[in-house]
């Protein structure tokens, strides 16, 4: 939320300055007429506290004697009485949402006070697309997040700050790696194949080359999330997935402030798998092999390696932010520097970030204001490209390597591969220590706005925005990782996104009751991406690391390029009648280079209306609501998140060396061209109710929405006999319906003690309505080898992320037909007499039924306690990591899971697992490995102590001790129910996949100590 002081004079709400001064003057006059009392003894002061504007009494307002802790509160009628001994005492009158007033008693015995609603309440300004609006005038569903809500939680990224704090916004940390990817969804998932990432707009500039993770979270002044069509249609073809508007900090005139913020946290893996020891493992392996691979298992007691112990570590994260802000009425500044060092909880992984921001606002003249925001960051990632996929991840090898194996086969020589051939991956410790993969990323953001107030009702804004990323990466695959072909390579890329917006705003009040605002925008956005990479093989010397590619015997280069453009025309009309009837209409026309011919153009209208019932006398007479607003909206948004050239039918690169060491370029026909491809569009209807009670002590917002997405950009699979692959088509419909509730309370608010609480609950249902004639779309899948068919499908009537698995029915207790006792038992869904992928059926979804966040802040004197609980209910996770170590499969022959020793034998018939030596294999793609991903988590608990400036003279200090993810309640057996190997840019971002854990990088449990100093 942005508090605007400047808008006070030209916004036609509530108080007008002249009236305000008059009110204060008459209040003072009233006071001076009261009879004076001279007695030194106890004096009883009585009075009434009321709202200045409405004259309504204010129950629960507080009164205290300045310099003491003696106080009182008003009763149900707003009356109070307080005893004083010093006739010269000063009384302090305060109430939430009102400016605090002080009165010298000066002999009075009755002091009535009319409190003035605070400016904040009256002029809360919310940043909306291409402008800003008074919060009270908003007709759309817009949620705001202020840094004060997460101020005592050590956060490295903006997504951490968002998680669990806004109804309708889901944040999932899909990888626990430092700088690991995060999946953020606003109101569910519309698109099957295209991205469902919201649009991020920082200070008016839409991000493309940079992501949310590149922004320095400490620079954020406010975050607004636009959720319904009334709010997002203004972003047209980029609005379908919601829009996150970020406003960065600015300096305040005559208020120089230097602030230092820092924390150190100690991170450990949340939970480890319970694995077999060497003896148990050897016995199980012997049983599976049917021969004594380990001749004397019991002799192995106390030997071998605990691979989890050698791979996971306690890491120490350090974060430092130093900022200075201030300025004059004419020129204001905010400058910050940031450094964070974040080693991962897996050995030899790390990320460091450095960032600098400079926000300057200056008045060039009375009518022209120039704001320039510049941000640069440098990020250094070391071995943290852990995608979570079976092949790349450290995690699956760590838990699947036999405890009988040693790290080294002789001093200084790694035990590269397992003696038994199980698992097929290399020694995880060797891989962790010897791999070398460094990535550097430089982000540059510029947002400059030239604002020209042509008259007091007409203004022009020119916004020029740049977001750019220069990235480079390099790797060395040494002789340990690849004894026969050590190699090295480097790559670099540059991505520039340029934005030019021209905004004309007309804003005028007619006859004191018609508030009309019209906004027109012409905008151009374009992106250019270039990449180049050079790789070598047969590295003759590792002395130069990855710096000397010419040491490679064979070398290859490749390059890539893409470009897209978007031309947009936007109009918005907002009309407010008598401060209570609100209307809004927006229209955006977008032209995109990604489509062909007339399909290039998309049209995105929206309408909305609101009614501030609390302004009506029949509601005011109820004396219940401080605020009551009903609003509704309807509108259309689009999704053009296909990659450039998707319609052109590109050829696939497909090299061959003809048996030599030289790779020759080759091409094969890829997916067919598709000039008829068009926008995916979403029509959203939203109804919302905003309420506040007890003078704002308690407030609630309820929103219900229905989103219908049609013309889905779908990859329709082509039969293998026609060459396979897929073709992008506009097919099908997806519906999202949801209910969002957020409740905020200032339960206690006194000088010494306060308790604020916020609860938000999001519930939504996602359903595939149609697939254009098909009933089911089989998706691609990960962890090939372990998993041999897709375990998730897109099916009509089911949600995205629906699992499609063979129903597991336990274990055969007797021989039955071709099945022998001890074998895993499955439902023969197809009835064809055999068990296989034809027997899969729908088995739950990775989409939660509801998610929630519950935040509590309790302050007592200088102590402050924050407890933040967050959770997810009703989602399933396919735990492929668990499957890989509990049953024999193509990558792991001998299971390592402790529970795997509990297999069926005639003597152990209620065993957890089938007999691993049985004829019929355990089907990995079965419901046996689908687990409940619901969880409730103590995300943050922190205690802070503030030392005010007058104690330390030079600065105010705040010390915070906190813990993150201290407690998680879940049935999930793996490292963490929240992480998943899907939804990563490296593995495909379709939301039709989700809740699939194959060695995903675990999240950490952290203990942190923070320091904040303000000078």
């Amino acid at each position: 939320m942005k508090i605007s002081l400047l808008n006070f004079s030209n916004k036609q709400t509530g108080m007008r300055p002249a009236l305000l001064h008059l009110a204060i003057a008459s209040a003072l006059a009233l006071v001076s007429h009261v009879t004076l009392a001279q007695d030194k003894a106890e004096i009883i002061i009585k009075g009434k506290i009321s709202d200045y504007a409405t004259n309504q009494s204010l129950p629960g307002a507080s009164i205290y004697i300045e310099g003491t802790s003696n106080g009182a509160t008003t009763d149900a009628n707003g009356d109070y009485s307080i005893v004083i001994t010093d006739p010269n005492a000063t009384l302090v009158f305060s109430f939430v949402g009102y400016d605090t007033e002080k009165r010298q008693v000066g002999g009075q015995t009755t002091i009535d006070v009319a409190l003035i609603p605070s400016l904040e309440m009256l002029t809360q300004i919310v940043v909306t697309g291409y402008g800003e609006q008074k919060k009270t005038d908003i007709t759309g569903s817009v949620s705001s997040l202020s840094p004060t809500t997460y101020k005592d939680q050590p956060v490295v990224t903006t997504s951490e700050a968002l998680q669990g704090r806004i109804a309708g916004v889901s944040v999932q940390n899909v990888s626990g790696a430092p700088g690991g990817e995060v999946k953020i969804r606003v109101r569910g998932m519309n698109s099957i194949n295209s991205s469902n990432d919201p649009l991020y707009v920082v200070d008016g500039v839409a991000l493309f080359s940079a992501g949310l993770g590149d922004i320095n979270v400490n620079d954020i002044e406010s975050i607004e999330v636009l959720k319904d069509a009334s709010a997002t249609s203004i972003y047209g073809s980029r609005g379908s997935n919601g829009v996150v508007l970020i406003t960065t900090k600015k300096g305040k005139a005559d208020h120089t402030k230097v602030e230092y913020n820092s924390f150190v946290s100690f991170n450990t893996v949340r939970k480890k798998y319970d694995l077999l020891d060497a003896v148990g493992y050897a016995k199980l392996a012997n049983h599976i092999a049917g021969s004594d691979i380990y001749p004397d298992p019991d002799a192995l007691a106390g030997t071998g390696t605990d691979w989890q112990d050698v791979i996971f570590r306690t890491s120490v994260t350090q974060s430092h932010q130093l900022s200075a802000s201030g300025g004059t009425e004419k020129t204001r500044y905010y400058i910050s520097g940031y450094y964070v060092n974040q080693p991962g909880i897996i050995i030899n992984t790390n990320q460091k970030k450095y960032a600098l921001r400079s926000n300057i606002d200056t008045k060039l003249s009375e009518k022209i204001n120039l704001s320039v925001g510049l941000f640069v960051s440098h990020q250094n990632s070391h071995n943290n490209t852990d995608a979570g996929d079976g092949g790349v991840s450290m995690v699956t090898p760590t838990v699947s390597w036999g405890p009988t194996e040693s790290i080294y086969s002789s001093p200084g020589v790694y035990n590269r591969t397992s003696a038994t051939g199980s698992p097929i991956s290399s020694n995880p410790y060797m891989t962790a220590k010897e791999r070398l993969n460094d990535a550097k990323s430089n982000t540059f953001l510029m947002s400059s706005t030239l604002k020209y107030d042509i008259t007091d009702w007409l203004s022009y804004d020119l916004v020029l925005g740049v977001n750019a990323n220069l990235g480079s990466s390099a790797y060395l695959t040494n002789h340990w990782i690849s004894p026969t072909n050590p190699s090295s390579g480097q790559s670099s890329s540059e991505s520039y996104t340029l934005q030019n917006s021209n905004i004309v705003t007309f804003h005028k009040m007619f006859n004191d009751i018609h508030d009309v605002k019209v906004t027109g925008v012409v905008e151009e956005t374009s992106n250019t991406y270039k990449g180049i990479s050079a790789n070598g093989g047969g590295l003759t010397s590792e002395t130069n690391g990855y710096y000397n590619l010419s040491l490679n015997k064979t070398q290859s280069i490749s390059s890539s390029y893409s470009n897209w453009g978007l031309l947009s025309y936007v109009g918005r009309l907002s009309y407010v009648l008598k401060d209570r009837y609100l209307f809004m209409a927006t229209y955006r026309i977008d032209g995109s280079s990604k489509f062909q011919g007339s399909n290039k153009w998309g049209y995105f209208p929206s309408i909305a209306a609101g009614w501030r019932l609390s302004e009506e006398s029949f509601i005011q007479d109820l004396n219940v609501f401080t605020n009551l607003k009903l609003r509704g909206s309807y509108g259309k948004t689009g999704n053009q998140a296909v990659t450039p050239y998707s319609t052109l039918g590109l050829l696939d690169k497909s090299q061959s060396s003809y048996g030599t060491t030289t790779l020759y370029p080759g091409y094969t026909v890829g997916n067919p061209s598709n000039p008829n491809l068009k926008w995916e569009t979403t029509i959203q209807t939203n109804v919302g109710l905003e309420m506040a009670f007890l003078n704002g002590k308690l407030s609630a917002t309820i929103d219900y929405y229905v989103k219908n997405t049609k013309d889905l950009l779908l990859s329709k699979p082509i039969p293998y006999y026609d060459g396979g692959g897929s073709t992008l088509v506009n097919l099908g419909k997806v519906q999202n319906r949801g209910l969002e509730v957020s409740i905020n309370g200032n339960i206690i608010e006194t000088e010494e003690l306060s308790w604020t609480t916020g609860l938000n609950v999001t519930s939504y249902k996602n359903k595939v309505v149609s697939l254009g004639g098909d009933d089911i779309i089989n998706l691609g899948y990960q962890a090939r080898g372990l998993v041999n068919t897709n375990i998730q499908v897109v099916k009509v009537g089911e949600p995205l992320g629906a699992f499609y698995l063979i129903p597991w029915q336990g274990i055969y207790q007797q021989n039955e037909g071709t099945h022998t006792a001890g074998e895993a038992k499955y439902e023969d869904v197809s009835g064809n007499g055999t068990i296989g992928s034809e027997d899969r059926k729908i088995a739950g979804t990775s989409t939660p039924k509801f998610t929630f966040g519950f935040n509590n802040n309790v302050r007592y004197k200088n102590f402050e306690l924050n407890i933040f609980i967050q959770g997810s209910e009703g989602n399933k996770v396919f735990n492929a990591t668990y499957a890989a170590i509990s049953a024999s499969n193509s990558t792991v022959k001998y299971p390592t899971l402790a529970a795997a020793a509990d297999y069926w034998t005639p003597e152990n018939t209620d065993a957890k697992f089938a007999d691993p030596a049985s004829l019929n294999k355990t089907q990995i793609e079965s419901t046996q490995f689908l687990q409940n991903g619901s969880y409730v988590r103590l995300k943050n608990i922190s205690l802070s102590y503030s030392l005010p400036k007058d104690m330390l003279k030079f600065a105010s200090l705040k010390l915070t001790v906190s813990a993150q993810n201290l407690l998680t309640i879940t049935d999930y057996i793996g490292f963490d129910p929240e992480i998943t190997s899907t939804g990563l840019s490296t593995t495909g971002t379709s939301d039709a996949y989700g809740g699939f854990d194959i060695g995903a990088y675990p999240t950490a449990k952290s203990l942190s100590v923070g320091l904040q100093a303000t000078f």
């Binding site: 020119l462 280079s593 060396s657």
Partner: protein, 504 residues
């Protein structure tokens, strides 16, 4: 004030560009502009070798030939999918079944596109056009030859198309297409690629030649003469084509090589290879289809390898001893890669002999049998000259009766194997049976000239399996040489789900 507005206007103008909404994929080739030059044709055929490389670089596709009596697989751990073929219980959703289906059809798709468009290459000489089409016809014909032997009746796609309702073609129609494609290849391909720096390496042709096409055609005719078509008139055609290859072996550069070096890495480029798939791991970036995954696939778990399959006991016992047996099977095993603990196969974990045809590689250390990479560079021969000789011998005997040339052909292979000449005076049928047995020894283990295909065309699958050692994994399905049960695999479930017309 005005100057600021002018500035703003200028900025806006400088930003604008007329082609904001026009796409120009500067770094990517599109189908539209492709096949226009001779160089495009070269890029497209190189792409085909990538696809065919992928098809043969692992055991997954070969699994459908495991029903023969030369190989078997254990079921423990991850081997059940291989074993399912061996014991005749592979279903349409067997995880390995899809591999050849997908990759042969991908090759066919790219060949179809090339054949539909190659004449658009304006600057290509007639030779370049012929060479291009010849390679595409050869690979398409070969792909269908493998596909129909594994699956029988399948979709016959010869043009770039996407059709969700295609019906299966008859086996006759598929063979007619194979013959036509290979005849085209024979006519269009050169005798040698000597002047092509890519397709001729280390003195051998990497790409197929007219000789490869004739040899393939001979194999096709021989198969057509057996089950299921039983067009016995094709024996003569098979013999004639094989003879053309034998008579011109110098021209094409074919010869048998010494058996002791046949499967060595030094022989990766071999005069014995009539057509082969070539791999190399020592390339600048990892291109999976350019590497061969078979070096660990048939080697013992005891030595840290995968052991996807090993030799069937009875077949091994009957296998005539001598240099060929020693080149085919691993004779000495080092459990735990410890040479001081050398044992024979009876002391290995699974007590079966392992094949070593693809094992010799830069990544393999013969001292301790450590394999330091999971991919290698070993060539996979599709047709060896030995097969041409044996095809000739069998076809000649069946077409015109046994004669000296037929004996010469088989004896050339036997001599190289260290065996005596074949008993003289055999009837055509007995001679044919001897050749089939000889082929079994010669191509045992995972060669594309799989024993499975011989058993199938001679309707002896059940018969061969009846000799299965009692200690082997028991058969679940019962193959039948009369009803031909289990002779063909079910069409993979994925395509059956996309096109219900394919159900079988």
């Amino acid at each position: 004030m005005k100057k600021y507005i002018a500035m703003a206007g200028l900025l806006f103008l400088s930003f604008s560009c007329s082609d904001l909404l026009t796409e120009d994929p500067k770094a990517s080739l599109t189908t539209e502009g492709f096949y226009k030059t001779a160089n495009d044709l070269d890029l497209a055929t190189t792409g085909l070798y990538n696809l065919i490389g992928l098809t043969f670089n692992q055991t997954a596709g070969f699994a459908s030939t495991f029903g023969a009596d030369d190989m078997t697989a254990n079921r423990d751990g991850n081997k059940a999918d291989w074993s399912d073929f061996d014991i005749f219980r592979a279903s349409s959703s067997n995880n390995l079944l899809n591999y050849w289906w997908v990759n042969f059809y991908r090759t066919i798709k790219s060949s179809n596109n090339l054949l539909a468009n190659y004449t658009n290459a304006a600057d290509a000489t007639e030779t370049e056009l012929n060479n291009t089409a010849g390679q595409a016809y050869f690979l398409r014909g070969m792909s269908y030859f493998f596909l129909t032997r594994v699956w029988g009746e399948i979709p016959l796609v010869t043009e770039p198309t996407i059709d969700y309702t295609t019906q299966n073609a008859s086996v006759e129609a598929i063979y007619a297409q194979i013959v036509s494609d290979l005849q085209q290849a024979e006519a269009l391909l050169p005798d040698t690629w000597k002047d092509d720096s890519k397709r001729f390496q280390n003195g051998v042709n990497i790409a197929p030649t007219a000789g490869s096409a004739k040899a393939m055609l001979a194999n096709v005719y021989l198969t057509m003469a057996g089950w299921p078509l039983k067009q016995t008139d094709k024996y003569a055609l098979a013999a004639a084509k094989a003879k053309e290859v034998i008579d011109n072996k110098t021209k094409y550069g074919y010869a048998l090589v010494d058996i002791s070096i046949l499967w060595k890495k030094e022989n990766n480029f071999s005069s014995e290879t009539v057509y082969g798939i070539y791999y190399n791991t020592n390339i600048a970036e990892f291109v999976y289809p350019n590497t061969n995954m078979m070096l660990l696939a048939y080697s013992p778990q005891d030595e840290g390898a995968w052991g996807d399959a090993y030799g069937e006991l009875n077949f091994y016992k009957k296998f005539p001893s001598g240099p060929r047996k020693e080149a085919t099977y691993q004779m000495v095993y080092y459990p735990g890669n410890d040479p001081t603990k050398a044992v024979d196969y009876t002391k290995t974990t699974y007590k079966h002999p392992y094949f070593q045809k693809y094992r010799d590689d830069a990544a393999f250390n013969p001292v301790n049998h450590v394999t330091s990479n999971w991919v290698g560079s070993h060539t996979v021969p599709i047709i060896r000259y030995a097969e041409v000789l044996l095809t000739y011998a069998e076809a000649k005997a069946m077409a015109d009766g046994v004669d000296a040339t037929a004996y010469d052909a088989i004896n050339e292979v036997r001599t190289r194997a260290g065996l005596k000449n074949l008993t003289t005076g055999l009837t055509a049928a007995a001679f044919r049976d001897s050749v089939v047995v000889e082929r079994g020894w010669e191509f045992a283990g995972c060669e594309p000239a799989a024993r499975w295909f011989d058993l199938q065309r001679t309707e002896t699958v059940a018969k061969a399996n009846s000799y299965r050692d009692a200690s082997e994994q028991a058969l679940v399905g019962k193959p039948d040489d009369i009803t031909h049960a289990f002779y063909w695999q079910p069409i993979p479930i994925y395509d059956q789900l996309l096109n219900t017309n394919l159900g079988n």
